[in-house]
C-alpha cells in the first residue's frame, strides 16, 4: 500500500469547471495552468520526484520578477529616451515683468515686454578660452571685450552681458561653445522708437513706470498685465503720427528751438495726440514747459467779457490811440487806430481793446475766470509731469492788461488745450485724459454759458476766415482758431528775436455745441524764420494736420457760411454797429 495519494487525486480538473460547461479557451488555459502549478507538489510526490515541485515554484517566482523588472526597464528606457527635450517641467521665466502691453485706442502696440537673455559664462567649462573670446566677440560685437576676458579668465560663473535679444542669443548658441548659458529676463520694449515717446514714457528694468503714461498708470498697467490684457491709452496712433510729422516739418521749416502739439477731443477730454519736438529732448514740453502764449489769451478775456455780460460782440472799444496805464503805453501790433467792435478787437488781435475790457471787468472777475479755465493750476491730466503755471503775484490794472493779451502768466500747452476745450464744447471744463474713454458723455464743470461758447466758436471760425488765422484753413473742415505771438523774456526784457508762435484751433467750429469737435494746439518755440507770429509759423501746420486727420476722426467736409466744402470763398454780409467803449 502506498503512503502517497493516488495520482488521479492530483490530476483532477480545476474546481468550478464542470465538464461539458462552455468556457472560453483562454480562461480554461489559465485555470488549468494555475491548477497544474497547484498540484505540482502532489504530482511530484506521486511521481517520486519532489525536487520538481521546488523547481516549478522557483521558475514561477523567477518569471514573475523578470516580468516586473522587464516592465520597469521598459518604463525607464522610455522615460530616458522618449521624454520631451528640456525636461517635463513647464519652464516659466522667473524674471517675467508683470506689466501689460500699452496700446493706442485702436489696439496698435505702443509698449510691450520681450524676453531678453542675460549671458553667463562658466570658465571651467570652456576648453579654449582664447578661441572662445574671439568667436563670442565676432557673434556679439556689442559685448565689452574687457568684461568678456575678465569672466573667461575668472574661476566662477559670471554674467557677461544682460539684455541679449533672442537673435543675439541664437547667434551665440549656434557657436556650440561649452560653458555659455542664458537666463531669461523680461525687458520693456518701445517698438515705435521716438514716436509718442513723451506720452508713453519709460519703465525701469524692474517693471516700474518712471515717466509718462508708464508712470501715470503704473498700477493699472501692472493690474492689466496680471490679467493678461493690454492697457489702452486715448492716443490714436494715426493722429499721433500726423501730428509728429507735421510738427517736425513746421519746426524744421521755421528753424525752431522746440515745438509742441496736442490734439484733444473737446467733448471727452481725451488726448488723441501729444508731441514734443525735438524728440531727443527728454523734456515733455506739452506738460512741463511754461510759455507766455500771447494773443491766444484774448479768447479767454473775450469769453469772460461775454459771459459776465460786460460786453457783447458788438460792443465798441476805442483803439484809435495807445492805451495808457500810468506810464505804461499799450499799443497794437496790427494797429487799426480806430474804434472797433469786440469782434474786430478779436479779429485784429487788438491789445488795446482787450486791455480796456479786462480793466473794466477788474481783477476779481479776471482771476475768477482764469481759475475757471484752469489757467491757475496744473493741467488736469494723469501725467505726473504736469507742471503748475507761473501765476501773476499782483492783479493790478497793468497786470490785467498784460493778462488780457497773454503776458504776465506762463502756462503749459496742456492747460491751454484744456481751456480751449471748455470754451468750445458748450462751456464745460473737462479734464484732459490719456485714458481711453468708453464713449459715455463726460459732464465736466460748467465754466461759461453755452451762449458764450457758441459765440466763441463763431469768433474762432471768423478769425480763420477773416482774421489772422487764414493759413489754418482746411477745405470743408470749418477750422476756427486764434493766433498767439509773444516775445520771450531774455535778460530782463522782452526780446523780439526770441518769440513763441502759437495757434489754438478747433474743428469743426459749426454744428451743435455737443457735436464731435477736436482741438489742435501748435506752439513753435523760438522760430528763426520771419515773421515769427503764430499765424505764419503755427497756423499752416494746424491746417495741414486737420486736413490729414479728418478722415481718421470721421469729420466730413462741408460748406459753412464762409467757405464751400472745397474751400472756395462765399460772400458774407457786413457787421452792425454797437456801443463805443
Amino acid at each position: 500500500m502506498s503512503v502517497h495519494d493516488h495520482h488521479s487525486a492530483y490530476d483532477r480538473p480545476a474546481p468550478g469547471l464542470t465538464p461539458g460547461r462552455r468556457v472560453s479557451p483562454t480562461w480554461r488555459w489559465f485555470a488549468e495552468g494555475i491548477w497544474w502549478v497547484e498540484h505540482a507538489f502532489g504530482r511530484a510526490r506521486a511521481h517520486a520526484r519532489p525536487e520538481e515541485d521546488a523547481r516549478v515554484r522557483i521558475f514561477l517566482i523567477l518569471g514573475l520578477f523578470s516580468l516586473v523588472f522587464a516592465g520597469l526597464a521598459v518604463g525607464a528606457t522610455h522615460a530616458a529616451l522618449m521624454s520631451p527635450r528640456g525636461g517635463g517641467g513647464y519652464a516659466t521665466n522667473p524674471n517675467a515683468l508683470v506689466r501689460g502691453d500699452l496700446v493706442d485706442r485702436n489696439g496698435a502696440l505702443l509698449a510691450t515686454n520681450i524676453v531678453h537673455y542675460a549671458f553667463y559664462i562658466d570658465p571651467s567649462e570652456v576648453w579654449d578660452r582664447e578661441a572662445a573670446a574671439v568667436q563670442i566677440k565676432r557673434a556679439l560685437p556689442a559685448v565689452s571685450s574687457a568684461r568678456l576676458r575678465r569672466v573667461l579668465n575668472g574661476d566662477r560663473r559670471l554674467i557677461v552681458m544682460p539684455g541679449l535679444t533672442p537673435a543675439e542669443r541664437k547667434r551665440l548658441h549656434a557657436l556650440a561653445l561649452g560653458g555659455l548659458s542664458f537666463e531669461p529676463e523680461d525687458r520693456r520694449v518701445y517698438p515705435l522708437g521716438t514716436s509718442a515717446t513723451h506720452v508713453i514714457g519709460d519703465a525701469d528694468t524692474g517693471g516700474r513706470g518712471i515717466s509718462g503714461a508708464e508712470l501715470a498708470f503704473n498700477d493699472e498697467i501692472r493690474a492689466a498685465g496680471a490679467r493678461g490684457v493690454p492697457f489702452a491709452l486715448s492716443i490714436d496712433l494715426r493722429v499721433q503720427g500726423v501730428l509728429e510729422n507735421e510738427l517736425a516739418a513746421a519746426a524744421e521749416a521755421n528753424g525752431a528751438k522746440g515745438a509742441v502739439g496736442i490734439i484733444t477731443d473737446v467733448q471727452t477730454g481725451e488726448v488723441l495726440g501729444l508731441a514734443s519736438w525735438p524728440t531727443s529732448d527728454r523734456l515733455d514740453r506739452v506738460t512741463s514747459a511754461h510759455y507766455e502764449m500771447g494773443s491766444v489769451f484774448k479768447t479767454f478775456t473775450v469769453a469772460a467779457g461775454l459771459d459776465t455780460g460786460q460786453a457783447d460782440i458788438n460792443t465798441r472799444f476805442d483803439a484809435s490811440e495807445a492805451f495808457m496805464i500810468g506810464n505804461r503805453k499799450i499799443t497794437d501790433f496790427h494797429a487799426q487806430n480806430r474804434v472797433m467792435t469786440l469782434e474786430e478787437v478779436y479779429l485784429h488781435s487788438s491789445n488795446i481793446g482787450t486791455s480796456r475790457l479786462a480793466i473794466e471787468m477788474g481783477g476779481t472777475v479776471m482771476r475768477d475766470y482764469f481759475t475757471r479755465f484752469g489757467l491757475m493750476d496744473a493741467a488736469p491730466i494723469e501725467l505726473k509731469e504736469s507742471a503748475r503755471p507761473r501765476r501773476p503775484r499782483r492783479w493790478d490794472d497793468s497786470t490785467l492788461a498784460s493778462l488780457s493779451f497773454g503776458y504776465g502768466i506762463m502756462i503749459t500747452p496742456a492747460q491751454m488745450a484744456a481751456a480751449m476745450g471748455a470754451l468750445t464744447n458748450g462751456g464745460r471744463f473737462i479734464p484732459l485724459t490719456l485714458r481711453k474713454g468708453d464713449g459715455t458723455p463726460v459732464r465736466g464743470r460748467q465754466v461759461v454759458s453755452p451762449e458764450t461758447s457758441r459765440t466763441l466758436l463763431d469768433l474762432l471760425r471768423l478769425n480763420v476766415v477773416r482774421g489772422s488765422g487764414g493759413f489754418a484753413e482746411a477745405a470743408g473742415l470749418r477750422v476756427g482758431g486764434k493766433t498767439g505771438s509773444a516775445n520771450k523774456l531774455v535778460a530782463g526784457h522782452y526780446d523780439p528775436t526770441h518769440a513763441v508762435g502759437t495757434f489754438a484751433a478747433v474743428f469743426p467750429a459749426d454744428g451743435p455745441l455737443d457735436a464731435r469737435r477736436y482741438s489742435i494746439l501748435i506752439l513753435i518755440d523760438e522760430p528763426s524764420a520771419w515773421p515769427r507770429t503764430g499765424g505764419y509759423v503755427a497756423a499752416p501746420a494746424v491746417g495741414r494736420i486737420a486736413d490729414r486727420i479728418a478722415p481718421f476722426l470721421g469729420v466730413q467736409r462741408r460748406a459753412d457760411a464762409w467757405r464751400t466744402a472745397l474751400g472756395e470763398r462765399i460772400a458774407v454780409p457786413a457787421a452792425t454797429d454797437g456801443v463805443v467803449r
Partner: protein, 144 residues
C-alpha cells in the same frame, strides 16, 4: 451529547473552500489587491504622461506667445509713423489734394457709368424659325 453545528449555508461553504489549506477567498482577495495596485500604477503612469504632454503644450503656447509678441513688436517698429512718412515721401507720395478727393457717392460724377450697349438682334424670318424647329431634338417624354 451531541455538539451543535451551525447550518452550512452557501456563504460559509464559499469561505471554507480551500486549496492546500489556503482559502480561495484570500487568494481572490490578494489577486484583487494586486489588480488594484497595478491599476493605480497604470493610472498614475497615464497621469504622468498627460502631465508631460500638458507641460509640453504649455511650453509651446508660451513659445508661440513670445513669437507673437516679437512679431507684433516688429510690425509696430516697421509701422512707425515717422518711418512710413519718410518712405512715402521718398516714393513721391503726398496727401491728396482736396479737389482730387471723392467719396463713394460721387463716383458716378467723375466716371459716369457707361450706357448699356444696345443689343443688336438679327432679323428673324419665317423660314429660319421653321428650320430651327426642325433641328430641335425630340426629348424622351416627347417620344412615341
Amino acid at each position: 451529547m451531541t455538539m451543535w453545528t451551525a447550518p452550512r449555508n452557501g456563504l460559509q461553504r464559499l469561505f471554507d473552500w480551500k486549496v492546500h489549506g489556503i482559502r480561495w477567498v484570500e487568494i481572490i482577495g490578494l489577486l484583487l489587491v494586486a489588480l488594484m495596485v497595478f491599476s493605480v500604477y497604470v493610472a498614475k503612469a497615464g497621469a504622468a504622461r498627460e502631465g508631460v504632454r500638458i507641460s509640453q503644450l504649455e511650453r509651446e503656447i508660451s513659445d508661440n506667445g513670445e513669437r507673437v509678441h516679437l512679431l507684433r513688436a516688429e510690425v509696430a517698429r516697421l509701422e512707425q509713423p515717422g518711418r512710413l512718412e519718410a518712405l512715402s515721401r521718398s516714393a513721391g507720395l503726398a496727401p491728396v489734394d482736396v479737389h482730387r478727393r471723392k467719396n463713394e457717392g460721387s463716383l458716378a460724377t467723375i466716371a459716369p457709368v457707361p450706357e448699356p450697349r444696345p443689343v443688336i438682334v438679327a432679323p428673324t424670318t419665317a423660314a429660319s424659325v421653321e428650320a430651327a424647329a426642325a433641328e430641335t431634338p425630340v426629348g424622351p417624354e416627347d417620344g412615341r
